[in-house]
Symmetry: C2
Subunit: 1003 residues, 2 copies
């Protein structure tokens, strides 16, 4: 199949055009606007809408300004060429067509690691998304394969299959060169000769020259024209302007002129336009009467359902759901649901079997049932008739009631029996439901079983309307030697399974269920996930040990890669030691996140210049696969090195001015404005936390620098490295270590379970940053509502609580917030401050509940100590312990009697005296209580530990009880009465500042 000499770049295009034209695709042209992807061509983003069939294929030179690398990267450029294919509706075998097209290009899948790696695509600007995969060829993404679910914010029906080839990357492989610039374009010129000069020019323009103010104005004009076109109902002219908006936005982004918030706003604006264009298009097609509908053949009549087989003996049963590659996470979900639902549903259906196992790979979910009985278990039920004394007369003869009942049940009256029931003796009849033939039960149960599998994100793909993680392409349902016939998602069950991708997914016919495991073994498919993981773990360790290293524990990654393959083979690749000059976090981030490689650490925990990758398939062509993966990583590292090199030409501090171009929030200004606020606010927060002078210095410097890395290219590219990069660059430019650490720490914790800041400047800065965001964003009306929390304020508040609590830091939210309010560029009313405080306290409430504290305990404490989160947390713990005491009810009751009588009195017009006057006591119990209260007052401080209060209550309880026994509080004489109320008030007041016990259950 392979051509004698590698195809040139242009020949690849011609071949693909021919291939897809033969598949009935209209050959279309690149669009006349700068687009980021072929998807944006109206031949995709509009034609996928509506009911009409559509097949199209075309090249699309795709411009992504931010991807430019001044032609210094071997395969990353601001301009790359896509080959775009749309198949609507799903032809049923799009993956196979795609693999065939690769063969037409001369790519032999046996010698390569071709993988469908989950990739859920979304274009926020177009309001479009889909589920699918990146296709990896030896680790390099060469294609995006997507089942388009929505475009212009509208659901697609039918769903369209979108195949987007990365032409340069495919050419790299076919030609065996390591840089796009060396690709042969036409047999005469290299790709670099044709495009390198303009690539560099575009980078200079995009990153350095494009005039930000003018771009913003262009955007405005484009948007205005788009709206005018929409108002006039013009689809394509409007779409063109949306594309211009999008490209202009991308340029602004490349210039670093788009803040996080602004980005969201831009997206919302573009999405709104895209949605309106999509609606207009749909209306237009409808007006035209959907002319393309006439171009489809009616679907073939469904084959008649085969007769149910007859099975007489217990047999093994196999259900294999054959799918296109499931995402790793979905595979796990599916297996656990199958393990849970299958036994339940079998049991409900009275199906009896010896054992049941569940297995799965990315392409198959397997239920194997051992010795399934040929009929379901018969069931006996008791049908209750009339009471015995009504059914039979004194002579024991059946009455008309018995006769009637027997008749209604279709049994002779002699068949009636009498049972003793709790409500008396009753006539009845035992009814036996005979067992059903298992095939009949299965044929109805199996579709329900499959339908019971649910996924976080599921997709539709064909006319059946069924949603699943990925398309179901075959179903094996074998009961012994017989097929259990049923249809699901348009697929009919049978006895044919498929081999693995590296072998071309050959059809494998199973004579009987029991052949399945041997067949899979022969096909080198490990259907047991645990077995796959174990094999990978073993090989990882072995290959790491060979170079004197070890693989750090990473169960998450292991689980993921184990679920990405059917035939795992681990390989070790190398990378240039030179790359080790980059910070380890950067390299590991690249390896894990982008490539799902395991790093290898040396004896001292240092990173070694190796990686471990897991391929799908055996050892055939392993060297090529390794080389491929190495080349990919080389490019990735080159990218990181490019950023590092560019960034570190200038001190970290010098990035600060560029923060002015990064909008934090329109009314709150840029990230530079935020930096100024952090500088202003940090000293107050540091003082609240009691930092010493040296720490205050560190804090000030860190506040100054902590956001600078946001303007670096490294962070623009790898957002998750914010803080890490700030720390590294700060070190590099000789900042004190404490400053570097504080810069890093101020983002901690970044996610649930993340580390917390440990240094006091880091803590102070993290708190400062969060408070500024909370107060500022609340002030401009951006408090989280419902599921909308674009600024992550819930996480910010939780982080604040977590830090304070973990370090048991005494703190006053309200004082800190007042300080934060003072430096905002917008007015912050006291109502707003109260809202922020409630919001933060709300987060603590949630955290405490999460930690298992009783709701009422939390409420009681937060009512009193919510302003100081760490203190509130400790108090909650103390109070929770208290309420679990066996004598708690007594303590609480004593106390609550005091409070309740006070309330009652108040409602009747009796207020306590302002002070207790021992002279007005009439009873000993009064005196005793007064003494006890005085003792308690010495013991309990409003800002003291709750345990003191509990101890005090403990002592007070008997005294209070005696008091109520001996004393009539509501004495008719006012002075006496008000003095007694004052005494109780003193008791009640003991809890002040500690907890509002009236909120506890049982109060």
């Amino acid at each position: 199949m392979a051509p004698r000499r590698p195809l040139s770049f242009q020949e690849i295009i011609l071949r693909l055009q021919e291939f897809w034209a033969e598949q009935g695709c209209l050959i279309w042209q690149p669009y006349s606007e700068k687009v980021g992807a072929g998807t944006m061509n109206p031949a995709t983003v509009l034609r996928v809408l509506g009911p009409e069939p559509w097949r199209v294929a075309y090249v699309e030179p795709s411009y992504r300004p931010a991807d430019g690398r001044y032609a210094e990267n071997p395969n990353r450029m601001q301009l790359h060429h896509q080959f775009q294919v749309i198949l609507k509706p799903d032809p049923g075998n799009p993956q196979e067509l795609y693999l065939e097209s690769l063969r037409a290009l001369g790519i032999d899948f046996r010698r390569h690691d071709i993988r469908f790696v989950e990739d859920n695509w979304e274009s926020p600007a177009l309001g479009a998304w889909g589920l699918g995969w990146e296709v990896w060829l030896d680790g390099m993404e060469i294609t995006q394969f997507t089942y388009f679910q929505q475009a212009g914010g509208l659901p697609l029906d039918p769903v369209a299959v979108e195949i987007t080839y990365g032409l340069e990357r495919i050419a790299l492989y076919l030609q065996g060169v390591s840089s796009v610039w060396d690709l042969d374009w036409d047999g005469t010129h290299t790709y670099g000769e044709i495009l390198k000069p303009s690539e560099i020019e575009h980078c200079i323009y995009n990153f350095e020259l494009a005039d930000i103010e003018r771009l913003r104005e262009l955007y405005q004009h484009y948007e205005a024209e788009a709206r005018a076109c929409i108002a006039r109902g013009l689809v394509i002219p409007a779409h063109d302007y949306v594309l211009r908006c999008s490209h202009t936005f991308n340029l602004l982004d490349a210039r670093g002129a788009i803040g996080v918030t602004e980005r969201a706003r831009y997206f919302a604006r573009m999405r709104d336009l895209a949605r309106q264009v999509a609606l207009l298009y749909l209306q237009q097609r409808e007006r035209l009467g959907h002319p393309f509908m006439r171009k489809t053949l009616p679907p073939p009549a469904p084959a008649p359902m085969p007769a149910l087989p007859i099975v007489e003996t217990a047999e093994d049963f196999l259900l294999e759901i054959g799918t296109e590659e499931l995402p790793a996470r979905d595979l796990e979900t599916a297996l656990s649901q199958l393990s849970e639902n299958a036994p339940v549903m079998f049991a409900e259906a009275q199906l009896e079997y010896e054992a049941l196992e569940v297995h799965g790979t990315p392409r198959r979910l397997v239920l194997y049932v051992h010795r399934l009985q040929p009929r379901t278990r018969p069931v006996e039920t008791w049908v209750k008739g009339p009471p015995a004394h009504v059914a039979f007369d004194r002579e024991g003869r059946p009455t008309p009631a018995a006769l009637g009942f027997a008749r209604s049940q279709g049994v002779p009256v002699e068949a009636l029996a009498v049972r003793e029931l709790p409500e008396g003796r009753y006539v009845g009849v035992v009814r036996r439901t005979e067992g059903q033939p298992t095939p009949a039960v299965l044929t109805e149960l199996l579709p329900r079983l499959i339908a019971s599998l649910k996924f976080e994100l599921s997709m539709r793909w064909n006319g059946s309307g069924v949603a699943f993680s990925r398309p179901i392409r075959w179903l094996v349902a074998l009961y012994g030697r017989e097929v259990i016939p049923f249809t699901y998602a348009g697929v009919s069950s049978g006895r044919e399974t498929r081999g693995s991708r590296p072998r071309g997914s050959p059809t494998i016919r199973l004579e009987q269920a029991a052949d399945y495991f041997p067949a899979m073994r022969r096909a080198r498919i490990l259907i047991d996930p645990e077995e796959r993981r174990a094999r990978i773990r073993r090989d990882l360790e072995r290959l790491a040990a060979e170079v004197g290293g070890r693989v750090p524990e990473d169960p998450e990654l292991l689980a993921e890669v184990g679920n990405l393959v059917e035939t795992p083979t681990v390989l070790r690749g190398r990378f240039d030691e030179e790359a080790l000059q980059l910070p380890g976090e950067v390299l590991i981030t690249v390896m894990r996140k982008h490539q799902r490689y395991f790093p290898i650490l040396g004896p001292n925990g240092q990173l070694l210049p190796y990686f471990l990758a897991v391929r799908n398939g055996g050892r055939r062509g392993l060297d090529r696969v390794r080389q491929g993966n190495e080349a990919v990583l080389r490019a990735r590292f080159a990218d990181a090195a490019y950023f590092y090199e560019h960034d570190t030409r200038q001190p970290l501090e010098t990035f600060l001015p560029r923060l002015a171009t990064l909008t934090f929030q329109e009314q709150l200004g840029s990230m530079l404005d935020k930096t100024r606020r952090l500088e202003a606010l940090a000293p107050s927060i540091g003082a609240l936390l009691g930092l010493n002078e040296e720490e205050m210095h560190v804090l000030a410097r860190a506040a100054h620098l902590c956001k600078a890395d946001l303007a670096t290219q490294m962070v623009i590219e790898f957002t998750e490295l914010q803080g890490v990069i700030g720390r590294e660059y700060a070190r590099r430019w000789g900042e004190p270590e404490a400053v570097a650490v504080a810069i890093f720490e101020h983002y901690l914790p970044r996610f649930a379970g993340d580390a917390l800041p440990q240094t006091r400047p880091g803590i102070a800065l993290g708190i400062t940053d969060r408070l500024d965001s909370l107060v500022g964003l609340f002030a401009v009306g951006l408090a989280p509502s419902g599921s909308a929390d674009p600024y992550g304020l819930r996480r910010a508040a939780s982080g604040l609580i977590q830090i304070l609590t973990a370090h048991r830091l005494r703190f006053s939210l309200s004082r800190a917030m007042t300080a934060a309010a003072a430096i905002q560029p917008v007015p912050v009313s006291s109502e707003i401050l109260e809202d922020v405080r409630s919001f933060v306290i709300g987060r603590q409430r949630a955290a405490l509940q999460e930690a298992g504290y009783r709701y009422d305990v939390i409420e009681a404490v937060l009512a009193a100590r919510g302003d100081d989160p760490a203190w509130a947390a400790e108090t909650t713990a103390g109070l929770q312990q208290a309420v679990q005491r066996s004598d708690w009810t007594r303590l609480l009751t004593s106390y609550s009697r005091c409070v309740r009588i006070l309330r009652k009195a108040e409602s009747e017009g009796s207020l306590p005296a302002s002070e207790v006057d021992p002279a007005a006591f009439r009873e000993e119990a009064e005196r005793a209580l007064w003494e006890a209260v005085q003792t308690a007052r010495r013991q309990v401080r409003p800002d003291g530990p709750v345990e003191d209060l509990i101890a005090a209550l403990e002592s007070l309880a008997p005294v209070i009880d005696r008091f109520f026994e001996d004393v009539l509080v509501m004495h008719e004489e006012e002075i006496i009465r008000r003095n007694r109320l004052a005494l109780l008030q003193a008791v009640a007041d003991l809890t002040t500042g500690i907890a509002d016990l009236s909120r506890l259950e049982g109060f």
Copy 2:
């Protein structure tokens, strides 16, 4: 060759891609910007620059907003698809490669009329131009074929061949459908199904919706970004913005927002940008070291020049210069130069022959010489020696002088002879140059002969650097049976000519010169232009007569079409009678200008629904050719009808507001502003011309309406119909006929030789319009300078003169200009007015010179009567007659003596008395002169005919002569002297207001 089923649209593209890839073209992609043509893709407009070789082919969807027809036209759309090919350098046979590509598409040139029709392409925005052809397939332009001469304002070396296929039109033919909308795109969808909705939308946007103000701002931003990119040296980013400028300009143009002046300014701005981009690109390639140079093979070593043949007898000689299709005009020029230069050069070379004929077709220039002698004529020359008396002594013996001379001439002294020369008798010798062999002379003469042919526009095409009208592709030079070897423009002479295009240009080998005429006859090629014209004229008449009509005389068109074919065949096509509802001028303009068809007029001069076209080739496939031509005309008329229909939905007057969007000149405002000025100025001009009340009414209305048609689509499309359309639409909406006519006439004369306005309102309006332009544009500094006259002010001034002169209208330029100045929106100084006046007078000066008047006569009259052109013209005629009189010198001398003595006296401080005082006369001659002067004064009026002056001078001359004989003017007595001077002053003053005779020769 023809495929079984017609190729779909996409298959045509795939075929062309394959075909040109096989020719070594890089296959490129459409550009990511909206462009008007594939030329603008940097793969053309930049890559053609510089010395590097380049071959490329690609599709280009091309957007030309103004071409949109709301999808109502069968083949005119705002979006069409080009297939663009660049071959650099010229491969030597680009036309043949092109024709082969048509064959690859299944177009059999034997069954079609395939023509290369001159088309000199220019992109004012890109500063690019080239010479070449439209390729016509049965009358429809399917391809542009250009030898690119310049891009970005820079000359190209080597020249690039640009082939631009119109894909839709080719598909129309291949598929045999009559509308692009019915084309099969991919076997499933029609072109209309894919593109018609967006076509209509784009039209609505382009013509109705696009916001003019925003577009202008976009243009500004694009230009600014382009300049920034240029300043930074970024070629492609700058070019992208130039393209955006260009498309934005096109949109503004489609919206009718670009005035004539503004257009020129926009073009200048874009051209300036394009030039800078081109320069940057050249610098960039130079910096890179011209890497593509390494990709060319060195040219093959030239074949050694064959030995000169030996010919002993007189033989016929044939020179055929085989070219690619020469433009009709160039063919004529070439033939007349060949007829003139060949005899001269042959004579100079002493070549003797019996007769010489010159013929030619678009593809060959033929010189045929009958019985050319094998050797040139020997030449005797007389070499003059010393005078005879010096050469010989008294005894007749040779002196040393004679001996020396004889020795120096290499002859014995006896060979000296003596001749009588005008200067005396001299010794000399007859030297005889022997005849040269004719082949040796021809081999040197023929290249010079070809080089002597010059063209108005000539082009380079290959490394020889030779410039010619179109490329020379073969050379036949046969002397009898022998080839005269020489090389010109890289082509070596031989004996092979070629047949006609319809037969595939087969090679025809000639054994001897005399075989040429029979060979051409056999090939059905008429090499005699007169024969072609005669045959066409005959067939035109016959075919017109068949339908009862006649063809109006049109020698220009006849000459042109006769020079477009080698084998003329006239065919008659029909068009729908419905088209006749359009104004005849429109239909005829379309037929003549666009298609070079002859119209047929019926008995009453009405247009009949037929046309006559001349194809190249015989009658084979004539029906298809006719159908093709009919289809083309249908589309053209549909276009015209479209405009007519759109325009006439509203009264002419309602177009006036749109004139506000048509800039006349930035400072002078819009065409609406100009209309307001015409309305204001017309009454003054009418009054100066003495219009009566009714005429004044007509004038006012016509002034109001005369520019309205500029806003109609018809005029926007067919600019040359301005005025015609105004008249037609005015009639249609019921304006008085006189108004309609005046609207039409105000543009007259439109070109040299055009008709003049005949009605007085038409005349007045034409003058008004021209004066407004002249005064206004001068005032804003836009007087013509050098060759720059973008507003056609020279023609305006000439027209003004012509109208006034032809109708002998008395007029005062200065009064009219003062009136025109008063209504300008800018200040007009008196200096400016004087400049305008001088400019207009200058045009009259040129016109009078052109008419053959003596320079001095013109000057004399214009000095006095330049302000009144008609009067000046008559006076010039009169004075010219006078100066041709035999006694003129005497008359002038008498007069000039008077003037000269006055000047001399003045220079000596003697001024004439203020009045003549007869009392101070001393001589009779004084008195006589005084009487004669008084008589003359009664006879001659300053505003009277010049003839009166001449008559007066006649009478005065003898009196003056006597006066000077008898009288000493410079009498010592001051009173007498000054009185005499006053008398002469009276004589001198007779010419005042008539002519300044002192400017005449001989004064």
